[in-house]
C-alpha cells in the first residue's frame, strides 16, 4: 500500500537542502533551473518538477525570463518530508477544532444542513451493517458540520485533518484492528447526539457532544493500541480540561 516517495519529492527535499547550504536570504534569486538540474545530477524535466513542488509550497517563486526567487524564510526548508503524524496527536487537534466548530455551527446551521447530515448518518449506518471499512459517511458528517458554519476556511481545515488521517501510517495500522462493529455503533450514536444538539441550536451542547465523541474515539483507539510501539503517542493525549 504505502509506496516509496515519488522521485520529485525526494528531489524537492534535496533541493531544499541545497538552497539552505547556499545560505540565501528571502528575495534572493537562487540557482537557475539548469544549474539546479546539474547540481542534482538530473535532467531539466526532473528538476522542473522539484522546483514546481517548492513553488506549490510557496517556498520559491518562478519568474519567467528572470529566475527563481526565494520567497519564504528558510526555517521551513529542511523539515522532514514525511513527518508521520500520530493518531492521537491528530485526534487532539480534531477535538480542539471540531468541538469549537460544532458549537459555532449550532448557531449557523440551516434546515437543509440538518437534512444532509441525516443522510450522512444513514450512509454511515449502511456502512456499519455492511461491515466493510467504508468511513465515507463518517467523514461526510464531520465535513457537513464544518460546512454549516458557512466558513470555507474551517471547511478546508477539517478536510485537511481527514486527509492527514488517511495518509497516516499509524492510523492505517490501527484501523486494521477495528473489527468490532460495536465501536462504530457507539460512534454513530455519538453522531446522533451531536446532530440533536445542532437541531436544537444548542451551541454548548453541540460543543460538548463533539468533545465527548472524540473522547470516545480516543478511548477506543487507546484500547486497540500497542503501547509498546515506539511511535505510540497516546501519552500526548492527556486528559485536558473540558
Amino acid at each position: 500500500m504505502r509506496k516509496g516517495l515519488r522521485r520529485y519529492q525526494e528531489l524537492a527535499h534535496e533541493l531544499k537542502i541545497l538552497i539552505q547550504q547556499k545560505g540565501y536570504k528571502v528575495g534572493d534569486r537562487i540557482l537557475t533551473e539548469r544549474q539546479i538540474a546539474e547540481a542534482l545530477n538530473v535532467g531539466r524535466s526532473a528538476a522542473r518538477e522539484a522546483i514546481l513542488m517548492l513553488e506549490i509550497e510557496d517556498l520559491v517563486e518562478v519568474r519567467k525570463g528572470s529566475g527563481i526567487y526565494l520567497v519564504s524564510d528558510s526555517n521551513r526548508l529542511a523539515r522532514p518530508i514525511v513527518d508521520d503524524i500520530g493518531p492521537f496527536e491528530l485526534l487532539q487537534a480534531r477535538q480542539l477544532l471540531e468541538s469549537s466548530i460544532a458549537g459555532f455551527a449550532a448557531v449557523t446551521v440551516t434546515k437543509n444542513d440538518i437534512v444532509r447530515m441525516r443522510e450522512a448518518l444513514e450512509m454511515e449506518r449502511k456502512g456499519i451493517e455492511a461491515k466493510n471499512n467504508d468511513y465515507s459517511g463518517d467523514e461526510l458528517f464531520h465535513r457537513l458540520i464544518a460546512e454549516a458554519t458557512q466558513n470555507s476556511v474551517l471547511v478546508d481545515m477539517v478536510s485537511e485533518l481527514w486527509r492527514k488521517r488517511d495518509q497516516s501510517l499509524m492510523w492505517a495500522r490501527l484501523h486494521e484492528r477495528i473489527f468490532d462493529t460495536d465501536y462504530r455503533e457507539q460512534w454513530l450514536k455519538d453522531h446522533e447526539d451531536i446532530l440533536s444538539a445542532l437541531q436544537l441550536k444548542d451551541a454548548e451542547g453541540a460543543r460538548q457532544a463533539m468533545w465527548t465523541h472524540l473522547e470516545n474515539v480516543r478511548d477506543t483507539l487507546m484500547e486497540l493500541s500497542d503501547v509498546e510501539d515506539p511511535h505510540f503517542d497516546g501519552y500526548l493525549f492527556s486528559n485536558t480540561a473540558n
Copy 2:
C-alpha cells in the same frame, strides 16, 4: 504584484473538468499521460505538470508503468482555483481555532516558551517603532502559542492560516490602509494580556484574551473596510456568542 495564474494551474483546472466529463469513479484508471497531453493540446511535459498538481492535491495517484488513477471523489474536482478568502472569514476561523489553542496552551506551556514569546513581543514592539510593515513578530507570537501545545498538527494549522492571510488579495488591500500605529499598539497590548494569562496557566483567561484580541482586530479592520466593496465579507463575522 499579483500575477496571472501559472500555466500548470490553468491546465490542472482544465484537466479536472476533463476528468469530470469522463465520469470516472474513484479507483478508475483515467487517461494516460499522452492522451491527456493530446486532449489538452499541449506537450507531455506540460501535461505532466498539471498531473503532478493533481497528484499533490491527492486527486489522482500516478503509478509508474501502470497509469493514472482517480483517488478522491469528484466533488472536490471543479472547485474554483483561486478562491480568494475574505479577511473576515479568515479572522473568524482564527478566532475559533486560536482561542481554543490558547486555552490548551495555558496547560502545556513551558518556561522556555514564555521566554520566546516575550522575545517575539519585543520584536513586535521594534517593528511598531520602526513604523515599517513588518508583522513577523506578530506572526511569531501566534505561532509560538501553537507550538506550546506540543501538537504539530495545531502548529501546521496556524501556519496555514497565516499563509492564507499572506496570499489574500483583500488582506493586502486592507493592509495598505493601516497607517495608524495606535492599532498596532493596541494589538501588542492584547498580546501581552494573552502572555500574562499563559504565564499564570489560566486556560480560560488565555482563551478569553485571545478571543478578545481577534475581536479587536476585527473591529479595526471593519473600520478600515470599504463596505461598498462587492467582495466585502464583514457581514459574515456576526457577533457569535463568546
